[in-house]
Amino acid sequence: MATVVERPTTASEQAAQAERRRRRRRSAWRRQWVALAFMSPWIIGFSAFYVYPMISSLYFSFTRYDILSQPKWVGFNNYRFMFTSDPLFWVAVRNTLWIIAVMVPLQVIFAIFTASVLTRVRRGLPFYRTVFFLPTMVPLVAAALGFIYLLNPAGPINRILGFLHLPQPLWFVDPSWTKPGLVLIALWGIGQTMIIFLAALLDVPRQLYEAADIEGANPWQKFRHVTLPMISPVIFFSVLIGMIQGFQYFTQAFVISKAGDRTHEVGYPQDSLLFYTSRLYQQGFEGFHMGYAAALSWVLFLVIMVFTVILIRSSRRWVHYQGGFR
């Protein structure tokens, strides 16, 4: 049995070891500093334009703040006001949920339908693909202004409806037709989602359809049991992005409310276009309640987080990933 006898180290060896450790540490520090130097543009940008505004807005949400004078600490007053004393908060919540519940599913269904039709096109696919994608390139404000013209009660759409002896809604003038009008704008601008669905549909393995044919599946069964599961990751992505955008819905509604007459209040007519972010804008930039607007934005942030987590959790049950990867 061998025994190891530790040789006592001399003072000079100990000093050499300490020197080596120092060098290694210095070298590690230098590497860290070099990495930090390379990362510094991002760190500065992230701190200045993301961390700082977030911390500031969280602080402001507990203050009475009008931008022009010193913020004054009010504790949870803004949050209490939101849930107990601001009736328009709930109007905005209802309108926003309407848009998410109606517009997002319709967008997904319409995008799948359009993409499915395009998979059957034999000639000129690039042309049709471009035509359907083009509206995505139009800025939101321009699109909204275009639809104000198209859906003007005396405009071309209503003239066609009149020619066909169909009812002619007052669209953006009648509170019961404003949100359906917005849905039309959303469906018109479906191009980006449609392109993703088109790629997903073309990616479904042919042999799955052949196997379904052998099993005697009809077209609906093939769509339900082959196509839908195979494109479910894209559906999940579209629903998630659509939901987040729905919570932040603003531009089109704002332009339509204010277009033509600057005296119209945000949400015109009759608060039918008052969405959550519209209320936030109204309070922050028209009522100068920047503290309350900050509180609204934090509640929105938290709600989006909760809904996102719920959607991600639920996706385990209905999203099918090829190869079982999640």
Partner: protein, 444 residues
């Protein structure tokens, strides 16, 4: 160590956040306009654009003509938010122009725009002699004069003289009862029952001038009491105004009026040649003095005249007055050349030559007592109506408060619901708006 550093950084950020804003005040200095002065360039921000920007920029050249050492750089398309951001960022323009008098209270209360009373006293400007009383309703708040008017708008009645003649009406209405009767008489219908010509469109939210503000003025309705407590439910004139408006709407039919307004092109037709009054489809309309310029610019063939807007039968003393209010200008806090800024602001708000020059260009009402007497403007009877309305001591803007346009927005939406028949109990509805405005005021 790292945690401590992060903690310090968070504290520093919070401290920086806490110190946003702020300002100081002190004794004011003024410039002797007759003495020699080193060259100075001052920046003026406004929300003017296109043709109007050119008119005001040209007008400001008169300042350089009067004070050769002064160069004025006029920057357009700067709205109130841009001005507020610049003030907050410490780089304000030397003089700021705003189209939103509703915001003046906020500027006064926060000190974002400097109190001009010391400057006015130092320059021996007697404001009560220079401007009609009504301008102080939208330029001062709680004793602070943080803005001054640079031109203004005034509202009145436009009426189609051909349609009046055809129906045998010889003079414009002076009371709301007369307006109701004439409107009914002037309204014509198509065979399908839709409106062919509207005597008067009483819908809130139709064109920008038919608002709860302007209509309430005709009934002498008061927004707030002396303690800034909303009085919509306690001043009976509000209920009177809303009931009159609803009776007008119901006499013709809400759906019919909506369709008529929509067929004209809705709000989009207001500033176009398709405007209902300019095309002869509306016989009487409440509008501002600028409509004269639009009628001319759109080459409308309508034959018309103007008059003060009718008032509540029981308050005939209000006749001749209406809502007024328009462009305001002030000196933001933190300007580098406050004395020179004041000299320029004084020029922009009191120099009759400058005011009448841009009033001719913009077709707005000049804002000083003396500039109102401009012979060229006085010579046009259609425009003179608005000069007289502005000069009327009972003409005012709605009371301004630190919540900006929030009160008018709340009441405007209520008015839209009311006229659509969605409000069952008017008094309860007004009380609810009172409470909402109070809560907004408490929110700060």
């Amino acid at each position: 160590m790292r945690r401590r550093l992060i903690g310090l950084a968070v504290l520093a950020l919070l401290a920086a956040a806490c110190t946003a804003g702020g300002g100081s005040s002190g004794p004011v200095q003024t410039v002797d306009p007759n003495a020699n002065h080193a060259p100075v360039t001052l920046t003026v921000w406004s929300d003017f654009s296109a043709r109007e920007l050119g008119v005001v920029t040209d007008g400001l050249k008169l300042a350089t003509k009067k004070y050769p050492w002064l160069t004025v750089k006029h920057v357009g398309s700067k709205d109130d938010q841009a001005i507020q951001r610049a003030i907050n960022g410490g780089t304000p323009p030397d003089v700021a122009i705003s189209f939103t008098p509703d915001n003046a209270a906020r500027y006064c209360a926060t000190g974002a725009w400097q109190d001009l009373n010391p400057y006015l006293q130092s320059s021996k400007v007697d404001k009560n002699q220079v401007w009609p009383a009504g301008v102080f309703s939208y330029t001062s708040f709680e004793g602070k004069q943080c803005a001054l008017p640079m031109l203004t708008d005034a509202y009145g009645l436009y009426y189609n003289t051909d349609l009046f003649k055809a129906k045998g009406i010889s003079s414009p209405p002076k009371t709301m009862s007369e307006l109701t009767d004439m409107a009914k008489k002037l309204t014509e219908y198509n065979p399908d029952g839709s409106i062919k010509v509207a005597g008067f469109v009483p819908l809130f939210g139709f064109y920008g001038s038919t608002t709860v503000d302007t209509m309430s003025h005709a009934f002498g309705a008061k927004w707030y009491d002396d303690q800034l407590k909303p009085t919509l439910s306690t001043d009976p004139n509000w209920a009177k105004m809303f009931q009159w408006q609803k009776s007008m709407v119901d006499a013709i039919g809400y759906a019919k009026l909506q369709k008529f307004a929509a067929k004209l092109g809705g709000a989009n037709s207001e500033f176009s040649a398709q405007n209902g009054f300019e095309t002869g489809k509306i016989a009487m309309m409440l509008d501002g003095e600028w409509r004269n310029a639009f009628i001319e610019g759109d080459k409308s063939k309508v034959n018309y005249a103007t008059a003060p807007f009718p008032v509540d039968d029981a308050q005939s003393d209000l006749y001749g007055s209406q809502q007024i209010g328009g462009t305001i200008a002030g000196i933001p806090k933190g300007v580098k050349h406050s004395a020179e800024s004041w000299l320029l602001l004084q020029f922009m708000t009191t120099d009759d030559n400058y005011l009448t020059t841009i009033a001719h260009g913009l077709k707005n009402v000049p804002s000083t007592v003396t500039s109102l007497k401009d012979p060229q403007l006085q010579a046009d009877p259609k425009f003179k109506t608005f000069l007289d309305v502005f000069a009327n001591p009972k003409s005012t803007f709605k009371p301004i408060t630190p919540i900006g346009q929030t009160d008018t927005d709340l009441l405007g939406t209520f008015g839209e619901k009311w006229q659509a028949g969605q409000v069952k109990d008017l008094q309860a509805g007004l009380k609810s708006i009172d409470q909402q405005i109070s809560k907004q005021l408490q929110l700060g």
